[in-house]
């Protein structure tokens, strides 16, 4: 199949109609930072490209009393500079800032990063730690699904050809709650994550962990929650001993998951420093 048409959509309705008409012969393109490469490498060969980069309907960051919703076509530059997402959600900003280079951040979108489903996708661990939901639309209607269920594997997400991800939504951090992020790239810009980690933490007045959600990137076939590690922390004070126990558990998990891979030894060693730094920063941010 060779590319016949590129539709530059101006409304979401148009997009839904086109997807309905062309189905699996179509491919959505937003920033194009992944799609263009896939086209060139002939990994995909759609008949129709539906360009949604000008779709202002799904380019927004909204704040309600208890929720934040980010439109799928919002770029990483917009996320990094958002006044809504700073402070308690610093982890989300940091992960957006760590994507590629300024040029890539100006083009690439949060929806694209999720749907491309790279194991190293930068925005995925923070969204998993926020327990975010994905909003999906098609001509037939709307549905919501937890990001954790939406991500199925390397390059695989739970979406039908006639559907589009329109937004991502999550609960706002409450008092003494915060989101932190850490990434190990091999250089300071244009670095694909070798390890990324995100931590959503809720601390009480005694520094005891009420809630914690940990998600890592680039250490599995997709971004993943670390529920076994979370269990170590819940109900305990964040002392040096507890943190070290958590790190040990994290290493065990990675060791099992990465067994047989050449990067296993490096990643199980290096995760300690990245995770600890992110955890301590998050804990501090909870108190502010």
């Amino acid at each position: 199949m060779s590319l016949k048409n590129v539709y530059v959509a101006k409304t979401l309705d148009e997009v839904l109609n086109l997807l309905n008409q062309y189905g699996c012969e179509s491919k959505l393109i937003a920033g194009g930072t992944d799609v263009i490469i896939q086209l060139r490498e002939k990994e995909i060969s759609p008949k129709v490209l539906v360009d949604i980069s000008n779709l202002s309907e799904i380019n927004f960051i909204d704040e309600s009393e208890d929720k934040i919703t980010i439109g799928a076509c919002t770029t990483f530059t917009t996320i990094a500079e958002s006044s809504i997402l700073k402070d308690k959600l610093k982890g989300l900003v940091q992960s957006a800032e760590s994507v590629g280079s300024p040029q890539i951040r100006n083009a690439a979108t949060i929806g694209g990063n999720i749907c491309n489903a790279s194991m190293a996708a930068d925005i995925v661990p923070p969204l998993l730690a926020l327990d975010a939901e994905v909003l999906i639309e098609s001509k037939a209607g709307k549905r919501r699904i937890l990001l954790d269920h939406f991500l199925m594997g390397k390059g695989k997400v739970d979406i039908k050809p006639e559907e589009i991800v329109t937004a991502i939504t999550f609960n706002k951090p409450k008092n003494r709650e915060a989101l932190g992020f850490g990434k190990l790239g091999l250089r300071k810009a244009l670095a694909i994550a070798r390890i990324s980690t995100a931590i959503y933490l809720s601390l009480d007045e005694e520094n005891t962990c009420r809630k914690i959600r940990i998600a890592n990137g680039a250490v599995g076939f997709r971004g993943m929650r670390e529920k076994e590690v979370e269990n170590i922390f819940i109900g305990k004070q964040l002392t040096e001993d507890v943190i070290n126990m958590g790190i040990e558990k994290l290493r065990e998990e990675l060791n099992q998951r990465l067994a047989g891979r050449s990067s296993a030894e490096f990643k199980t060693t290096a995760i300690a420093g990245i995770f600890k730094k992110a955890l301590l920063e998050t804990a501090n941010n909870c108190k502010e």
Binding site: R187, F266, A270
Partner: protein
């Protein structure tokens, strides 16, 4: 834990083909009808700045403004062979050839001037600021432009100066290892301060200093540019650039995996140009193209040793290699 270390890497490097291999550069300098001088030379500009500094050398010998030099290179129909832009040899070798060609043209210009000025001989005639004049009676003068017009009328143009320079190197004795395989040598030293993260294996270069022997700086700003570029390449070689060779095959065959430093990875480099003119060099100059990157890796590896006490003997020092080395050190 983050640990700081300081390292120095010092190198000396013989420029040119060396070891007795014929290393020849040729050049032509031609007086044009408008009094400008065309330099024909087979030196290739690969971004190192050869066009600029070689035009400067020609302008200096001919004593005319840089704008009056027409530099013609990279066109084999119009230029003699000056060898490759390799072995850091163009400044020294081709610089010498251009200097010789321009000196030859300068001599011919003066010989023709004394005829035009109807003097007894060329003794005491000199060329300065585009004018040929008698030192003892400066009113006896003719400009290069006027001279070119006279020669044109007499059908004596073009006036051509030629130069050829062969570097002096002697093949090493295979038995004894004795000889003089290179001339000249260029000296260089780098100093770096690194910060090593012992938990992730990441290496951060905090500060870097380079002192480069250049013989004579023909264009100091361009030398600083060469130093900045050489440092960035040396840094990539030290800690980033990994072909990932496995049984002769490259694993990292694109720039997603074969990492070169970005602007954020390269710290400011403090630069010192050391001038000690080389008697056989054009105006004392020597080549620095390769030398500016050689000292970086030894300095970085020494700094890592200073920081964490581990001798790394393989480049690039990627985080996984460094962590493995630290682990082995702890076991011993």
């Amino acid at each position: 834990m983050k640990k700081k270390g300081v390292g120095i890497g010092s190198t000396f490097y013989g420029t040119g083909y060396g070891n007795g291999f014929p290393d020849v550069s040729r050049a032509k300098a031609v007086l044009k009808e408008d009094g400008k001088v065309a330099v024909h030379v087979g030196a290739t500009e690969v971004g190192q700045g050869s066009k600029t500094i070689m035009s400067q050398m020609a302008a200096e010998v001919m004593s005319i403004p840089l704008n009056d030099i027409i530099f013609i290179c990279e066109d084999t129909k119009n230029m003699p062979d000056s060898g490759t832009a390799a072995a850091s040899r163009q400044t020294y070798n081709t610089g010498n050839a251009i200097k010789l060609a321009c000196e030859d043209l300068r001599k011919k210009v003066i010989e023709n001037a004394f005829k035009e000025l109807k003097l007894n001989s060329s003794v005491g005639l000199t060329l300065k600021n585009g004018e040929i004049y008698l030192k003892t009676l400066p009113s006896k003068n003719i400009s290069l432009k006027e001279l070119a017009l006279c020669l044109l009328k007499n059908k004596e143009l073009p006036l051509i100066g030629e130069g050829s320079f062969t570097a002096q190197t002697i093949e090493m004795d295979e038995e004894t290892g004795q000889g003089a395989p290179y001339w000249p040598y260029t000296f260089n030293v780098y100093g770096v301060i690194v910060e090593v993260d012992t938990e992730t294996g990441l290496i951060d270069i905090i500060k870097a200093v380079c002192a480069q022997d250049v013989g004579k700086a023909i264009n100091p700003e361009m030398i600083e540019g060469q130093m900045d570029g050489g440092f960035a390449m040396g840094l990539g070689y030290s800690i980033y650039e990994d072909l990932g060779l496995k049984e002769g095959k490259m694993k990292n065959k694109n720039f997603t995996n074969y990492l070169i430093p970005t602007a954020l990875d390269v710290p400011e480099l403090e630069k010192f140009i050391i001038e000690d003119p080389e008697s056989t060099g054009p105006f004392g100059a020597k080549g620095i193209g390769e030398p500016v990157m050689l000292g970086v890796a030894p300095a970085v590896l020494n700094a890592i040793y200073d920081a964490v006490g581990v001798r790394i003997t393989q480049v690039p020092v990627t985080p996984d290699r460094l962590l493995r080395a630290l682990k082995e050190e702890r076991r011993e």
